[in-house]
Amino acid sequence: MAYKISKPKRSLGEQSYFPEAAKGLALTIGRFFKNTFSKEENKIIATVRYPDEVRDYPERFRGVHRLTHRMDGSPRCVACLCCSTACPAQCIYIEPAEYEPDDPRYGYERYPKVFVIDELRCIFCGYCVEACPCDAIRMDTGVHVPASTERDHFIFDKETLMSIPGKDGTYVTENPRPEPGDPGHPGITREQGH
C-alpha cells in the first residue's frame, strides 16, 4: 500500500527564488542597519563583551557561600551540622567546639572551630542554606567562585567564608539574633533545659 505524500505547495513567486531571496536580503539589511546605527537601547544585541560587561544575575542567583556574622563579628554558626548533613555533595566539613566556660554562650551553643567548604565539590544546590536553623550560611553574594589554577584555592575555610560580604555589602543579616543577656533572649541555658 503506497502512501501518497503531498508535496509542499509553493507559489510561483516562491519557486522562482528571487522574490524570497530579496525578502531575506531586506530582512538582514534592515537588521544590520538597526544594530549598527540605531541608539544603544534600540539595538537587538544578544551577546555581551563578557569580561568587560557582565550580565545582571537574577535576584535569587546562588553565588559563592558566605558565613554571616553576629554583631561582635563572631560567626552566627552554632555548628549544628545540619548543613553538612543536608549537603548532597558532601563538600562541607565542620569541627564543632565548646566556648570557654567563662563565655556567656558556654553551655548554650557551640561554635565551628573548623568550617570548610570545597567549592569544587559544591553543586550550588542551596540545600545548606535551607537546612541552616540560624541563618548562618547564605548564598546571596551574587558572585562566582573566582577562577584559579590551584585546587587549594577552592578550599574555602572559615575566615575566607566570613570575609565575603553579601550583595548589599554587609556581613550581618536583617534577621536579628538575640545574644544571652539581650531582652529578646529566651534565657534558656544548659541547666534549665528546653
Binding site: 536580503l25 530582512l27 538582514t28 544594530n35 549598527t36 568587560d52
Partner: protein, 462 residues
C-alpha cells in the same frame, strides 16, 4: 618619462586601494554578519592606552574636530550668501573686476560642506575609536592586523607527499589574476597635466568641457588595452588554474574534489559571465571599459538599458568567485574546506585575500558596466551643471572634480561589496546540481535571449 612615472603612481594607487581594502573586508564580513545576527562581533583587538591619552582622544580631540566642522559649515553659509549676493547684483554670468563669479562662490560653499561633513565624521570616529577599557580598537578594525600577524607566525604546513612546487605556486596563481584584472578598470576621468614648465596649470583651474588643452592627458586607468574587457575574462580564467592546482597538489582527496568542483563551476560560469555582457557591448559599441563609461556619461547608466544583464551578471560573478550561495567547492560539511584544505598560515591568507580582491574586482566591474563607473550625475569636467534645475552652475577646479569622481567610484564599489557580503550571510548554499542547473538551464538561455532582444531592439530603433 611622464608616462612611466604616472603609470607607476597609478599602479601604486590601485595596489594601495586593493590591498588596503581587502584585509578590511575580512573584518567587514565578520562584523556585518555579527550585526545582522544580533551579536557584538569582532571588537576586542586593541592597543592599550594610558587613561589620560584616552580621555584626550575621546574629549578635546573629538570636540576639536566638531569645532572645525562647524567652522566649515559657517564658511559654507558665508560662501553661499556671497554667491547669492553676487548673483543678485551682477547676474548669473556676471564677472567682477577681480575675476570672481557666483559659480566660484558656490564652489567654495561645496568645499565648506565637504570639510564640515568630513570633520563631523572624523569627530564621531575619534569619539568611538577608544572603547571603555581605554584601548584603541577602531571599532575592531585592528582585527585584520592581528589576523595577519597570527597567519605570519603559524606553521607553514606542507603535506609530506604533496607536489611541492605546485603546492607553493598555487596560492600565487590564485592571487595574481585578481590583482591583474584591476589594470583595465578606469577609476577616474582623464587628468590634464599642464604643458612643459607649468605642470599644475590645469589641476587648480576650472577646465571647460571638451576644450583642447596644451600638455598631456593621463587616463586614470593603469593600462588601456584595446581588448578591454576581454582581458578581464582572460585573466579571471587563469584563476581557475590556481584553484585546480591547489586541489590537485595537496595530496588530499577532499582537496582534489574541491579543486574539481571549483574548476568545473568556474569554467561553466566563465561562459555565462561573458555572454551576459554581450548585450552591453552591443549597446555601448565598444569593449573598452573607459569608452563604456563615457557612453554612460553621455547617455544613461547601463542598468537602465540592460537590467536583466545586471542581475544575471551579479549572480554569475558571485558564482565565479565561489562565494556563498555558490561555495560548493569549499563545502565544510562534505569536503571540509575544499581545495585549500591543506593550506595554513599565509598561504591560506593569500587564498582568502584573493577571494576578497575578487569581491572588489567584480563590484568595480558591475559599477563600471552598469552604474556609470566614476560618473557622477550632473558633474562635468568644470563642475556641477545645475543650470537646468536651479539656474546656476557650481564651478570646481579640475583636481576637485577628479577627487569627487574617484571617491564616488569607490563609494559605488563599496555599495556592491556590501551587497555581496550581505548575500553571503543571507542565502543558504545551493546544491551542486542546482548550481549547474542555474548556470546552464537558466542564466545561459536568459542571457542568449537578452542578446537576441537587444539586437532586435537596436535594429528596430537604429
Amino acid at each position: 618619462m611622464l608616462l612611466f612615472v604616472s603609470t607607476l603612481l597609478k599602479i601604486g594607487f590601485v595596489l594601495a586601494i586593493l590591498l588596503g581594502i581587502a584585509p578590511v573586508l575580512v573584518w567587514v564580513e565578520r562584523r556585518q554578519s555579527s550585526m545582522m545576527q544580533d551579536r557584538v562581533g569582532p571588537v576586542r583587538a586593541g592597543i592599550p592606552l594610558p587613561a589620560t591619552l584616552a580621555d584626550i582622544i575621546r574629549g578635546p580631540l573629538a570636540w576639536g574636530a566638531k569645532a572645525v566642522a562647524y567652522g566649515g559649515l559657517a564658511f559654507a553659509v558665508l560662501a553661499l550668501l556671497g554667491g547669492l549676493y553676487f548673483w543678485a547684483t551682477l547676474g548669473l554670468s556676471g564677472v567682477s573686476e577681480s575675476g570672481m563669479t557666483s559659480g566660484v562662490y558656490f564652489g567654495l560653499a561645496v568645499l565648506g560642506v565637504a570639510i564640515a561633513a568630513f570633520h563631523f565624521a572624523a569627530s564621531w570616529v575619534v569619539k568611538h575609536a577608544v572603547d571603555s577599557r581605554n584601548e584603541l580598537t577602531l571599532f575592531g578594525l585592528l582585527h585584520p592586523a592581528v589576523d595577519s600577524l597570527k597567519m605570519f607566525w603559524k606553521e607553514d604546513f606542507v603535506p609530506p607527499r604533496a607536489d611541492k612546487f605546485l603546492f607553493h605556486i598555487a596560492p600565487i596563481i590564485a592571487l595574481i589574476p585578481a590583482l591583474a584584472t584591476y589594470a583595465v578598470i578606469p577609476f577616474g576621468p582623464d587628468l590634464h597635466w599642464g604643458p612643459e614648465g607649468e605642470p599644475f596649470k590645469w589641476l587648480f583651474s576650472v577646465v571647460p568641457e571638451g576644450a583642447a588643452l596644451a600638455g598631456e592627458t593621463i587616463p586614470l586607468q593603469v593600462a588601456n588595452i584595446n581588448v578591454g574587457i576581454l582581458f578581464v575574462f582572460a585573466v579571471a580564467g587563469t584563476g581557475i588554474v590556481g584553484a585546480a592546482i591547489a586541489g590537485y597538489s595537496s595530496d588530499n582527496k577532499y582537496a582534489l574534489l574541491g579543486g574539481l568542483r571549483a574548476a568545473s563551476q568556474m569554467v561553466s560560469y566563465e561562459v555565462t559571465l561573458g555572454l551576459t555582457l554581450v548585450g552591453c557591448f552591443m549597446i555601448y559599441g565598444t569593449l573598452l571599459l573607459d569608452e563604456m563609461v563615457v557612453w554612460q556619461q553621455e547617455h544613461v547608466w547601463g542598468f537602465l538599458v540592460q537590467p536583466l544583464a545586471l542581475i544575471l551578471f551579479f549572480f554569475a560573478s558571485i558564482a565565479e568567485m565561489k562565494r556563498v550561495p555558490f561555495d560548493a567547492p569549499e563545502g565544510e560539511s562534505e569536503i571540509v574546506a575544499g581545495y585549500f584544505l591543506e593550506y595554513s598560515g599565509f598561504k591560506f591568507g593569500m587564498f582568502m585575500t584573493g577571494e576578497f580582491l575578487e569581491h572588489l574586482v567584480s563590484s568595480s566591474l558591475i559599477v563600471t558596466l552598469f552604474f556609470g563607473g566614476y560618473d557622477v550625475p550632473l558633474l562635468h569636467s568644470d563642475g556641477f551643471h545645475l543650470g537646468d534645475w536651479l539656474g546656476f552652475d557650481i564651478l570646481l577646479p579640475h583636481i576637485a572634480v577628479i577627487a569627487i569622481s574617484i571617491v564616488v567610484f569607490l563609494l559605488k564599489m563599496g555599495v556592491f561589496v556590501f551587497l555581496q557580503i550581505q548575500v553571503r550571510w543571507t542565502l543558504p548554499r545551493f546544491r551542486y546540481d542546482q548550481i549547474m542547473q542555474l548556470c546552464w538551464k537558466i542564466i545561459l538561455p536568459l542571457s542568449l535571449a537578452n542578446i537576441l532582444v537587444t539586437g532586435v531592439l537596436i535594429l528596430a530603433i537604429g
